[in-house]
Symmetry: C2
Subunit: 695 residues, 2 copies
């Protein structure tokens, strides 16, 4: 599935721009592909059409997209985007993730523990103001500091003035800075989720495959002042769904693409980053699977983590396969070579072409410095060596008072004032924490840390404190008081001295590694800044050669994609665009109804009542990537006709290059949603509200 | 489980001797622990007692141990040792591995495809003859050649003279060379196997754990001249099983231990070898699990491979945990330091002490050379990059004519005349080969090869031939003719020119990598020889200090271990020595009868007829390790009272150091075997034969 999971985010490599082909593009709402839509589809999106779709789109902080579908605050996303909330609301007694949930009345709706929804309200170009703060005399380190300061200042001013969440977004790697203002919803309540087996039918084997038979939806309602929020811009629900050949639009938040990375960085992704990330995912998958098999309760506890790991593993495998495919890598090489030749040919005309050429070496040098720091950075700063919720709390708590003591602009971005709400939401979550799972994951990650940095490394020895990884993990998890929310709140309200005085084993550990972790981060951030400046130089040269009518790489901000509902050819056979309910029953029968192809009980019982010819899932060739999960699919009239939940296996290479021969986005059909809500889940009132029949 | 799986073998690191404590020791049959047995147990094993047990013990070439239990050739081992045969005899129509098998008549017994059983007939000391061939003036390379030549000559002479399989075994790392002569049985037929779910109840979660409820047995019959072989030395079956506190003996083939490795080699195991092997196992486990989940037929095809990978993963994880446990590693460090100090103290007395001291540096230098060559050696020579049965056939076929052209003594050991029977058994196996599984595994291992050696490496580029790993694997597997047994036989009968002329894609690939693979092997073999000479120098110094009354590290040859049937304490609770049938039903109920804790249908149906208080599995503190799987457990009277099938999780560290506080060997009780054969499997006639009631 194409949600934005932590490890996938971790891998996002950088951002630049691309020249669009076919139905390519993750377009900015303030620079839509008007020409392409006019030429190919004779469609002209009006400013009103765009504004409505923008404001009906929501971003989930759990790593996905969604949309409003009723005036009373109903927001739909994927089950796998809601899964984090479903897991956190579950216990040994009621397992909403596994069994599903339906609130028959508003009183039954369950408040999510740490979910935040953002709606993009306005965009302001702040490029000139940011650039004015960077003096040509500054080195990368000084430029980074100056940039952070001006961005923090712009964000704070905006938040103080408007009360809206305000984030400065870097586009075209510094070619453009845009202030995005979001309305935040933090009282988000669970209304409906099907059983995970219906949402994720076919499990890991069918993930990133097509044909599919998944009802991957989850419905929330946003509240304000303890009442359902009134939503002006919500999508009208089209109960018929789309037809083959229809033009459709996808409005969502693609997490990150790497389509214009320099070859030195791509090569590192292929040779080091992706294989190393895969190795971590492989060990975590085995570890969680092995834990899950020990008991049904273990399986419940680890379910969402395991899904996330499997999903990332399959996604990264697809990306690595793309980079290891000579035609693809050679195309990327040829593109860079061609651009460099074009710069070379113009090198006498303008300094920007020489700068563009020189930028490639700067990127390679910065990447080499990052590679050198990577082990320490990954295992200490990015917490690969400390895979534990409690350890992460310790990190945030230990750093918060230190960072708060600095001027806002000099803080690490996650501790800036503009991020404080989100930080507190995360830190004060009441999600259940299971000692055994914490110990398991901490043991494994401490072992991995030791494997990578060496058992004789002085810092590793201090981290393990003379114990085996397993014994140390047990000591840390059983010894810490960070499970106690009140304790976390008290520490967060205090200062650095209070953190030290707490003498908590996990806090002590995080203080121990903090200097080495911060130093590694400084190195990486400074070199990222150097890369960013170099990419901006390449972008300027490219603009001068090719013009600016394109879209920037994805940044988990709102984008508009478009495409046609259509199937594709695979191994000489045509894969149709649509599946229907009857296909679900057929697939189950082919697998003797065995896991992960077993039908949920409710679907067996209600088979006779279902209209089996109803379209279930469908594919289109819109340009999507992880983070687009839950994005609404709308028709020309701006009506909701489906919801993105996956890309097929051929789409995984879209991270690097768009392709419409086989790569497809996979959606649940709106027709299936209405039919299933009414006939399988007895959720007629909810279906009525969505279909506008109650008001 | 403690069978000897290929990846576990691969990890075996070296061999020296240890000083025994408690019930420690994997003793040679010609140097049994008489003193210890007399002192602690007042037991004196007579030569007749030892000879009978030795000749009733069998070694399985699939990586385990076993014993004769009837005059008519019945041989019992573990289900997981027989699994390789069960898998190879199965098809989509009949799945013996999953469903079990019982031949009601001898005519129904199914011949194994490539199984070889060896019975140790005699032992001859050839130390002087081997040592005489090595001149002091020889460097490591020349010494290796000379040693190989004399060993090959001794083996050939013995085989020609006796007709027996003859192997020179290196003990005490060159302190001793022994000629072991084995009677071979190659017509081995399957008689009985329970369902895998009964044999491996609790699956991966319960593997290496205790308490257990597994009927891990598989019964074969050896034939000669198409008739059941008459066996003089078979074990009398004791239907009552052992009692708490009983002295018991284990006669089997421990695969390898690493109890006296030099610290430089142990450190390398901890820091490089084990983590790298684990990484390969993690990726293979995920890959096979993911394949298996796609369909029931896939699951069947991958079952045995997946089991092997999971088993090795759990075993190596336990070993790594041991080395990462400071008390254990510090003990190993202290032992070496102490021995070196003792040599130092005697350095003026005799040259052997100076040589012993100098040997540590020689080992470290040789190990450093091995580490440098390891990536090429592992991925090309050890075929980590070519994980495919067909690719392995290609390797054997391409090398066979080249090696045959050399004098016997100069060949690689697996191509010596003494190994030709076993080589042909392997190469001409009719085991089913599945293209999809071959492609899956070859794709993954080619990807791993590329990750490790680099996509731009010239040899890697030649191996991939301009294609992605997936495309290349498909091309190789679909293009080769090596699936055809007749084709393999024809090639094997021919010469090197015929191999080249075949123009088979897999043969061409193996020829391409052969020079680099052979060169890496040469480097590793030469440095292993240097290590061996150095270890022998340490051994000589140690003999002079501590005497020789001990046992050598395990070498997958017959050893005698002994111990007491007794439970242990864990987390403050006493774990009893025995489980019984009622515990099986209880465990299933606790897990709602869900996989991997579901009861086989037959066990549900026959519950009422079973005597539920019958002992099922038991533990003792005998010193065992991988390869001991299937070893008979006998009482003072030499009667069969159980069969080893596992060690508990605390026993995994036995590879490095013996411990009897918690480490235990796990066996099926003979009482459970009789009861289950009669009452669950309706195999009364077989039970009668085993219990001696038919003759």
């Amino acid at each position: 599935m194409i949600s934005l999971r932590p490890l996938a985010v971790f891998l996002s490599l950088g951002v630049t721009l691309a020249a669009a082909r076919g139905d390519e593009g993750m377009w900015l709402f303030n620079a839509p592909p008007k020409e392409q839509l006019q030429q190919k589809y004779h469609f002209d999106p009006t400013p009103q059409w765009l504004d409505h779709l923008q404001k009906a789109s929501v971003r989930f902080n759990s790593g996905g997209s969604g949309s409003f579908i009723s005036a009373d605050g109903l927001a739909i996303t994927n089950h796998h985007v809601g899964a984090d909330t479903l897991q956190k609301l579950s216990s040994a007694e009621h397992n909403y993730l596994h069994d599903g949930f339906y609130a028959r009345t508003q009183a039954d709706e369950q408040r999510a523990l740490d979910l935040e929804l953002n709606v993009l309200e306005s965009i302001e170009d702040v490029t000139e103001r940011v650039n004015a703060a960077i003096k040509p005399s500054m080195n990368a380190d000084a430029a980074l500091t100056a940039r952070r300061a001006i961005i923090a200042q712009i964000e704070k001013e905006s938040k103080d003035k408007t009360g809206l969440r305000s984030n400065v977004i870097t586009l075209y790697e510094g070619g453009s800075y845009q202030l995005y203002r979001y309305k935040r919803y933090t009282d988000v309540r669970l209304v409906f989720a099907p059983e995970q087996q219906a949402a994720f039918y076919g499990g890991d084997p069918d993930n990133f495959e097509y044909p599919r038979y998944d009802l991957d939806i989850c419905i929330f309602r946003v509240y304000e002042h303890d009442k359902p929020a009134h939503i002006d811009n919500y999508l009208k629900f089209n109960s018929a769904g789309p037809k083959e050949g229809d033009l459709v639009f996808v409005s969502g938040n693609p997490g990150g693409t790497d389509r214009e990375l320099s070859l030195s960085v791509l090569t590192d992704a292929r040779d080091r980053q992706l294989p190393q990330r895969m190795a971590v995912l492989y060990r975590r998958e085995v570890n969680l699977t092995s834990y899950s098999e020990r008991s049904l309760e273990n399986a419940r506890r680890a379910r969402d983590d395991l899904f996330g790991v499997q999903n990332s593993r399959k996604a990264l495998k697809g990306r690595l396969e793309g980079l290891l495919d000579p035609p693809i890598f050679e195309k990327l090489q040829a593109d860079e070579t061609k651009l460099r030749q074009e710069m070379q040919a113009r090198a006498g005309q303008d300094a920007k072409f020489q700068e563009g050429l020189a930028a490639y070496d700067k990127i390679a040098a910065a990447q080499a410095a990052i590679i050198k720091t990577a082990p320490v950075y990954d295992y200490y700063e990015r917490e690969l060596g400390f895979n534990s919720t409690l350890a992460h709390y310790a990190r945030l708590l230990a750093r918060a008072p230190e960072e708060r003591a600095k001027p806002n602009g000099e803080r690490l971005p996650e501790f800036r004032e503009s991020s404080s709400d989100s930080l507190e939401l995360q830190l004060f979550s009441t999600e259940p924490i299971y000692d055994d799972l914490e110990e398991l994951q901490l043991t494994d990650s401490l072992t991995d840390l030791t494997d990578h940095l060496g058992a004789e490394d002085p810092m590793v020895k201090k981290v393990l404190a003379g114990k085996s990884p397993a014994a140390r993990a047990t000591e840390l998890v059983t010894g810490t008081k960070l499970k106690d929310l009140a304790f976390r709140k008290k520490l967060y309200a205090g200062d650095s001295a209070a953190i030290k005085a707490a003498n908590d084993p996990l806090l002590n550990l995080t203080l121990l590694i903090d200097p080495i972790a911060r130093a590694a981060r400084k190195t990486v951030d400074t070199n990222d800044e150097a890369k960013q400046q170099a990419y901006a130089q390449i972008a300027r040269a490219r603009f001068a050669i090719k013009g600016t009518s394109s879209y920037p790489d994805a940044t988990f901000t709102l984008r508009l994609a478009y495409g046609t509902v259509r199937g594709y050819e695979e191994n000489g056979k045509q894969v149709p665009a649509f599946t229907d309910f009857s296909g679900l029953y057929q697939r189950s029968a082919e697998h003797q109804n065995k896991e992960p192809f077993e039908l949920p009980q409710r679907w067996i019982a209600r088979k006779d009542q279902l209209s089996l010819g109803t379209n279930f899932d469908f594919v289109c060739d819109a340009d999507i990537i992880g983070g687009n999960s839950g994005s609404p699919v709308v028709n020309r009239a701006g009506e909701f006709v489906g919801i993105i939940f996956d890309g097929n296996i051929q789409s995984l290479v879209l991270d690097y290059v768009y392709d419409d021969a086989q790569a497809r986005a996979v959606s649940v059909d709106s027709a299936a949603i209405g039919e299933a809500l009414r006939k399988v889940y007895d959720a007629g009132p909810l279906a009525d509200e969505i279909e506008g029949k109650t008001k």
